[in-house]
Amino acid sequence: MSIELKKALYNISALADLGQEITSANNFHEKIKSVFYVITGTFLANKGAILFYDKSTKKLNTLTQKGFSPDELDCVQSAELMSLGKNEPYFIGDGSVLKVAGAEILVPLWVRDEFIGVLLLSGKLTAGPYTPEDIELLNVIANQIAVALNNHSLFMDLSDKLEENRRLYEEMRHIYHGTLQAFAAAIDAKDAYTQNHSHRVAKYSAAIARELGWNEHDIEGIYVAGYLHDVGKLAISNALLNKVTPFTPEELAEVKKHSTLSHTITAKIKFPWKNVEDMVWHHHERLDGHGYPEALAHESLSDGVRILSLADSFDAMTSQRPYRKKMDVQTAIVELRKCLDSQFDNKIMLVFCKVLDKEIKGELPEPDILPHLDRDSDLSIISSLLEGIIVELSSPKN
């Protein structure tokens, strides 16, 4: 085989290597490094560099290089290079276009009308000249790496936009949650006895939903429903909400309107989560159909409603009210247990007991329920109680 044929085969093989590296699954940095090795190995250049044009700063940045002075590379000006032929190798000669010691040939990298960067190479280790075949090959390689760099640039632009959108979305979420918390504070402020009730119901509901295996989006939805479930109380008079003596039937009917009012208010909001309005509307419904406002029962009640209902009742029982003292945690759990089937759902109760038991045993990194419970509670007694209910509700008949 003649030396020319061998060289041609080597060049073809180098092009194949280049294609393989450009399309490899490597990250961009590794890809550029490999491409750079292919180029310097193909032309036996002991010095070389790939500079990438940053459109925003209008400066050339070194992506990879070996052998050249970094300071000299930093001083390479794009304007002169942009006037040269697109992807056409250019012998630097007297250095009027570029002053980088040891650089012998450059190729301005272009994709259509977009200047992408520049490839610089020194002379060959063998001291031989760049042949016309080398120049042709360099032109082909320049086209390929220009496209690869441009693709990366487009990808980075998209990534930047995506990141910006994500940041804006996060900001909006913060504002959204801040607004919700302000709403909840307004609701709770109407009633001195229910301070932070909405916050706790949100936390408890989210903890149960998480234990049930809900996804993060839906957990956020029930968290929001927890915050807003009593928003309708804003329309009920303070005097009525803070009444110390038992409600008259008329007063009770008025207070009961709050869940429908909550629905009316929340229905006007376009939530990114499903069923928030349904959950706030029906959080006083019961499995036996004796709840309000629609007396729905069993199948008509979603898991979200059942969770919110239990979380709301548990917090109401363990909080001080104007007309009664707060229950201790054990008593409240026993009370919930008594109301299974008629008011609360077995599955939700089981999950609530499990998550609270896990929090007591320190099995969850961030407890949501435990920090809000009475500090005087005897956790070992509560845990035993929960274990008993878990065994009972886990048995096949349930």
Binding site: I3, K6, S13, S34, Y37, I39, T40, G41, L125, T126
Partner: protein, 120 residues
């Protein structure tokens, strides 16, 4: 080209380091060969033998890495010898005109003898 996991082992023989690249010298994993040589150069070793007995194939990436090693040794006025090369490797180096820039021996022992004789 099929990829074979590339690795490098080495040993010291007197004041010379003998390096054994194993596998195809055709991707970024070949940088370990440059690093291994650099490690010996950093320790003041100026004589390096690269035994290619277990490296049958090389591509443009591998050539680039070898250029770097040759350059590194040249910068410290050291000597690098290549031995046990397959016909493919010899043909490739000859075709590229690299043989004039390398000290090549058929066997590792020949290279070590050459380096010990001090005829550097």
């Amino acid at each position: 080209m099929k990829s074979v996991q590339f690795k490098v082992v080495s040993r010291l023989d007197g004041d010379a380091a003998v390096i054994y690249p194993k596998g195809y010298l055709n991707n970024l994993s070949g940088e370990s060969l440059v690093l291994e040589c650099g490690m010996y150069i950093g320790k003041g070793i100026t004589k390096i033998v690269v035994n290619f007995g277990e490296t049958d194939l090389i591509n443009s990436i591998g050539i680039s890495l070898l250029l770097q090693i040759i350059e590194d040794l040249k910068n410290i006025k050291g000597t690098i010898c290549f031995t046990n090369m397959s016909k493919f490797l010899r043909d490739t180096f000859e075709m590229l005109g690299l043989m004039q820039h390398m000290t090549v021996f058929p066997l590792e022992s020949d290279a070590l003898q050459y380096l010990k004789a001090g005829t550097v």
